[in-house]
């Protein structure tokens, strides 16, 4: 099944790779602890007793080693030749070509004609060095990453309310003591199964239009119509007050701004909330009662609440609810966001976001610019300013004033970006597309230059999981011959662009040491964290500042117990109002389409679609639809359907789901080609966060005529 990895190749001059290592799963933000070893020529994985997974692992994690030796693993740089085909090239030739073209494009069009697109799966070291490379070597403001599609709404809301954004401001294990947990648009039973081990004690309130496996375990399942979570949160706030469940003392002593937020909730009577959301008054009331009566309760949001053109306001509304109930900043209660990607947390605070410098410093803050310029040894004035958000960046590619070249690291926007048909056109309009990846992803296949890079079990580094805990990734293997680490790629390009080599270390530990200095004093302060402390088994959650003398800082597992991160120590209610989705179903497009994940796949599927055991479970795109809606559309279980939006069409296998709303269809977004769910989604963005509206598109469903012989007429 897997390739010949029994003889790991050693890098000259380095120690031979170990026989077993303790590391973490390559996939989601839970970062389950695993032990890797060798048996019978294959890499083996066993879950460890790490606190977040407690010996558990889902099928993705168990089968992750297969991706290391996947048959089409990229093993040498590829350059598109005059014949239009990608052909093998040497590293020097490939990097020379890229650097040369980048210099030309920059000379002709200026530094912002080169863009960088990063990923939430990159290690902290890579995310940091990528941001530094963009700002110093390329001098471009055009850098953003796929985490914009993931964490940005919750990040905006958390920063506004608490003055800092850490997915869970408490350890995951705290959830195990909760009496009640409200999950707004989160489906951990499928997206991060081992998390459910911490939720088996609590009574769950699940908000989701679909009856997901998580909703199956709920004490109360609220099924708001797609795009109405914000109205529901406003309604729950009103009921909290009307039913006498407002935590007056907490609101008075630890928060600001309740009045304005409450006034926005005033029109949301339970009855009007019911009419707009479809959530019964009795269920709203029960949810509020459960949360208020619990001794320990949490409000958690996921992508279902966040991936809207009003995602940040929606999260703010749920944070307001949590504050009204007095949950945040108390041991055993709180608000949190279930971060999605493996390094979704570290990836968003170390400098690959368009508006941020490392340490969660804002790029338009003069003090932050001075600090970073000093660490990097440049003038603050030389640092570019804030650039556009991810979708805006992709939308501008190849247009007048937009980038002519794009470097992609750890992302597959052809599949994962919204309005994927349009994004693919924009990528095709570039003069130069460079993709660093370890498999020929759909985006890599479009590239002019493909750079093969190492993956999880072949590299050292750190990631920061959903609870803000910094974790060590450790190498079991050396990368296959011909494959380089991303850090090496960045140095190779930087040097060719005229940068001093020492600015771009290739040793992760060395990058981390610089990252510590860079984040010192920032909101996400890693300066007290070191490889030595992590390797000694310390559980370090940021902020963990360096202490000049005396005992080291123990890290901060629980934020806000003494105060929130605003200067006055108080949390802020943020007044928000409900608004409709950018697009509503109508006559021609009568149904809501909502997109999401399945258990067997991760993100764009570039990795998991290469694992036999996972594709056996979910081999192809599908659309879930209520039997009534299917009958009206003329599609049948197991047949093919075409799902059509104003932007594109998807062909998918029909699954009838009785528990689904009759007005809603669901499609997973992990599949390529004409099965890309993101061919349907649009480019409407949240004005606060830049988050696209993945969760609401207006669509119709039609049968696909299958002609004899199996060909599909589209």
């Amino acid at each position: 099944m897997s390739g010949p990895l029994s003889e790991p190749l050693s890098v000259p001059g380095s120690a031979p790779p170990p026989r077993t290592v303790h590391t973490h799963c390559p996939y989601c933000a839970l970062q389950c602890g695993t032990r890797l070893g060798h048996a019978l020529g294959e890499v083996t994985v066993t879950p460890s007793a790490f606190p977040v997974n407690q010996g558990g692992l889902c099928q993705k994690g168990w089968t992750a080693p297969e991706v290391l030796s996947t048959a089409d693993r990229l093993r040498e740089p590829l350059v598109r030749g005059a014949d239009g085909r990608l052909a093998p090239a040497g590293w020097d030739a490939a990097l020379d070509l890229v650097a040369g073209r980048l210099r030309e494009i920059r000379r002709a069009h200026g530094p912002d004609a080169v863009g960088v697109f990063g990923g939430g799966g990159l290690t902290n070291e890579k995310a940091y060095l990528l941001g530094k490379f963009a700002r110093l070597a390329l001098r471009t403001s055009r850098i953003d990453y796929n985490g914009r599609f993931c964490m940005s709404s919750a990040a905006a809301a958390s920063n506004a309310a608490f003055g800092v954004d850490r997915g869970l401001p408490f350890p995951v294990t705290d959830l195990g003591r909760a009496d009640v947990v409200l999950l707004a648009g989160a489906n951990p039973a499928e997206t991060m199964p081992p998390l459910m081990r911490h939720l088996d004690r609590a009574a769950l309130i699940v908000l989701d239009p679909r009856r997901t496996p998580t909703a199956e375990r709920a004490a109360v399942h609220l099924r708001p119509a797609p795009g109405t979570d914000l109205a529901l949160a406003l309604g729950l706030l009103q009921l909290t007050v009307l039913d006498g469940r407002l935590d007056h003392a907490f609101v008075r002593e630890r928060t600001n701004g309740f009045e304005a937020a409450w006034q926005r909730a005033l029109p949301w009577t339970p009855e009007r909330t019911e009419r707009v959301t479809g959530v019964p008054v009795a269920a709203q009331r029960e949810a509020v009662r459960m949360l208020a009566d619990a001794r320990r309760a949490y409000v958690l949001t996921g992508r279902g609440a966040e991936q809207h053109s009003k995602g940040a306001d929606t999260v703010s509304a749920f944070v307001n609810l949590a504050l009204a109930l007095g949950l945040p900043g108390r041991d055993g209660s709180g608000y949190g966001c279930l971060t999605g990607q493996g390094n979704g947390q570290g990836g968003r605070e170390l400098g690959q976001k368009a508006d941020q410098l490392p340490g969660y410093r804002m790029i338009d803050d003069p003090a932050a610019r001075e600090h970073m310029a000093a660490v990097w040894g440049v003038e603050a004035a030389a640092l570019p300013g804030a650039g556009p958000s991810a979708y805006e960046l992709l939308d501008s590619l190849g247009t007048a004033g937009g980038p002519r070249a794009l470097l992609v690291f750890g992302s597959n926007p052809v599949v994962s970006a919204p309005n994927a048909g349009h994004v693919t056109e924009r990528l095709a309009a570039l003069d130069l597309l460079v993709v660093a990846d370890f498999v020929p992803s759909e985006t890599a296949r479009m590239a002019d230059v493909v750079l093969p890079v190492a993956q999880w079990a072949e590299e050292e580094g750190t990631l920061t999981n959903l609870e803000g805990r910094v974790l060590r990734r450790r190498a079991l293997l050396a990368p296959p011959p011909g494959v380089r680490g991303d850090l090496e790629v960045l140095r190779g390009l930087a040097v060719r662009l005229g940068e001093p080599a020492e600015r771009y270390p290739v040793e992760p530990r060395e990058v981390f040491e610089e990252l510590r200095r860079a984040t010192a004093g920032g909101r996400a302060d890693y300066s007290g964290v070191s490889y030595e402390r992590l390797d000694a088994g310390e559980a370090l959650h940021w902020p963990c500042p360096v202490v000049p003398s005396g005992p080291a800082h123990p890290g901060t597992p629980r934020l806000f117990l003494d105060g929130f991160a605003h200067p006055d120590g108080r949390a802020r209610f943020v007044p928000v109002e409900h608004r409709d989705a950018a697009e509503l179903p109508g006559r021609d497009l009568p149904l809501y389409a909502t997109t999401g994940r399945v258990l067997a796949h991760y993100q764009s599927g570039a990795q998991t679609r290469r694992v036999a055991g996972l594709t056996a479970v979910e081999p192809e795109p599908f659309v879930e639809i209520h039997p009534d809606a299917a009958r009206r559309a003329g599609v049948t279980a197991g047949g093919l359907a075409r799902v059509v939006s104003a932007r594109g069409a998807v062909v998918a296998r029909v699954r009838l789901v009785e528990s689904l709303r009759t007005d809603t269809v669901f499609l997973p977004f992990h599949f390529p080609g004409d099965g890309r769910a993101n061919l349907l989604t649009g480019g409407a963005l949240d004005p606060r966060s830049g988050m696209p509206e993945f969760k609401v598109s207006a669509v119709r469903v039609e049968p696909v005529d299958v002609v004899p012989g199996g060909a599909v007429s589209v």
Binding site: M196, P213, V241, P280, R285
Partner: protein, 432 residues
């Protein structure tokens, strides 16, 4: 610059001025409110009466900068020729566009914030068992008052609820300790033995000045006639909310938003949602749709009656759509029916699931009866057959089963099912 004058200072007027500002209207906007308070959320008066929140909690946000709000100013006349309104205190205000958002006037005792906040003593008689009367009686009862509800009809809300539904509501009110006097006539206050009498006999649209000025009003209800652009028969006068016959909060807010778009140069139309009567009675779900609309022979009538549990529904369906419905004690059904009515979507085939919310069948999870290919552990895609085979090959406890099959190693949620499957297996002979 176009001067907009808004008469009325309720939620609709409040939303209108907020939306005008958001949409960039830059002319002067003046709001005239008859009550002395700043704008407040009138729909929640019952919560003040019930003692759930203080009156001050109902105050809406301050108007946007530049909007002038004058309170305690009652408009008594509209001079359409001069485009001026005259107030009871003699002041006059000119307009280019006049928006009437005057709401509805009570024919009874409880309508303003001041009324709701006034202390109520001892045993209370609520006269009138329509929506307002039922809401008021239950709010007072919630606050601990002894309450008698007197109603001329055969049961509460008899104009909106049929006999079965009305009896269920009556029974529920009585179970909460509200004394009911029903039928035939409304007794004189003196015969009710109450310390306080509150008349809740309904509301009428507040349109006296509009009528006086010659604006067209509906004969039956007295509400101002408006078109889909919310224009009265005088194109410089618009009307929104209860004074224009809009029955509920949702409609009034939608009208305010439509009008703001129109007044800032946008092109849109107001499309009313089908009216739904949904009284605010915490703990009892009551809904009535289409009771006052035109009747016609339905294609199908669905009835569900479960009086012992206080549940009842009667739904009339025409052309696969709901034309009328009465529901009591069915919270899921009430929410679902309202959404179907608002969106004009067809009724689901499974009528019972519609009323009861989701599944009506219990999932079959008897492990012995499960097919071998049934997936027990979704996290690792382990079927019952795989678990059974592992057990038969000697993996006789959870740890051994997990090691062989990976079942239970994901979220752990299938642990009980895996145990149950194994417990149901016959013990092999060599062991027994």
């Amino acid at each position: 610059m176009k001067r907009i004058l808004v008469v009325g200072n309720g939620l609709a007027a409040h939303r209108l001025t907020a939306r005008l500002a958001a949409l960039g209207h830059d002319g002067p906007v003046t709001v005239l409110g008859a009550e002395p308070h700043p704008a407040y959320q009138r729909t929640l008066l019952g919560s003040v009466l019930g003692g759930d929140v203080p009156a001050s909690a109902l105050t809406l946000s301050a108007p946007p900068p530049g909007v002038r709000v004058l309170t305690g100013v009652r408009v008594v006349a509209i001079d359409r020729a001069r485009r001026v309104v005259r107030c009871a205190d003699g002041t006059r205000y000119g307009y280019d566009t006049l928006v009437l958002a005057t709401g509805a006037r009570p024919t009874g005792d409880v309508h303003t914030l001041a009324d709701a906040a006034r202390p109520v003593r001892g045993r209370v008689a609520v006269v009138g068992g329509g929506v307002l009367g039922v809401e008021t009686a239950t709010a007072l009862r919630r606050r601990g008052h002894r309450v008698v509800l007197a109603h001329g009809g055969p049961h509460p809300m008899h104009r909106h609820l049929d006999e079965v539904a009305g009896q269920l509501v009556a029974a529920r009110l009585e179970s909460w300790g509200i004394e009911l006097r029903l039928g035939g006539y409304v007794p004189a206050s003196g015969t009710l033995g109450a310390d306080t009498v509150l008349r809740c006999t309904g509301t009428v649209p507040e349109t006296a000045a509009a009528r006086e000025a010659g604006l067209a009003v509906r004969h039956a209800s007295g509400s101002i006639v408006v078109d889909e652009r919310l224009r009265t028969n005088d194109s410089s006068i618009r009307a929104i909310g209860a004074c224009a016959g809009t029955p509920d909060l949702a409609g009034a807010l939608a009208q305010a938003e439509t009008l703001a778009t129109l007044l800032t140069g946008g092109d849109t139309r107001y499309a009313p949602l089908p009216p739904i009567l949904r009284p605010r009675v915490p703990g009892l779900d009551i809904a009535s749709l289409g009771a006052s609309g035109p009747s016609g022979a339905p294609d199908e009538v669905v009835t569900f009656s479960d009086p012992a549990r206080g549940r009842y529904a009667r739904i009339e369906i025409r052309d696969e759509r709901i034309s009328r419905a009465v529901l009591v004690g069915l919270p899921e059904g009430t929410a679902a029916v309202a959404q179907l009515s608002d969106t004009g979507r067809p009724v689901p085939e499974d009528r019972l699931a519609l009323l009861l919310g989701g599944r009506t069948k219990a999932p079959g999870d008897d492990p012995a009866a499960m097919a071998d290919e049934t997936v027990l552990c979704h996290c690792n895609n382990v079927s019952k057959g795989t678990v059974v085979r592992a057990w038969q090959h000697g993996a006789r406890d959870l740890a051994a089963l997990a090691a062989t099959t990976r079942a239970t190693t994901g979220c752990g949620g299938c642990t009980a099912a895996v145990r149950a499957v194994c417990a149901a297996l016959p013990v092999p002979e060599e062991v027994g």
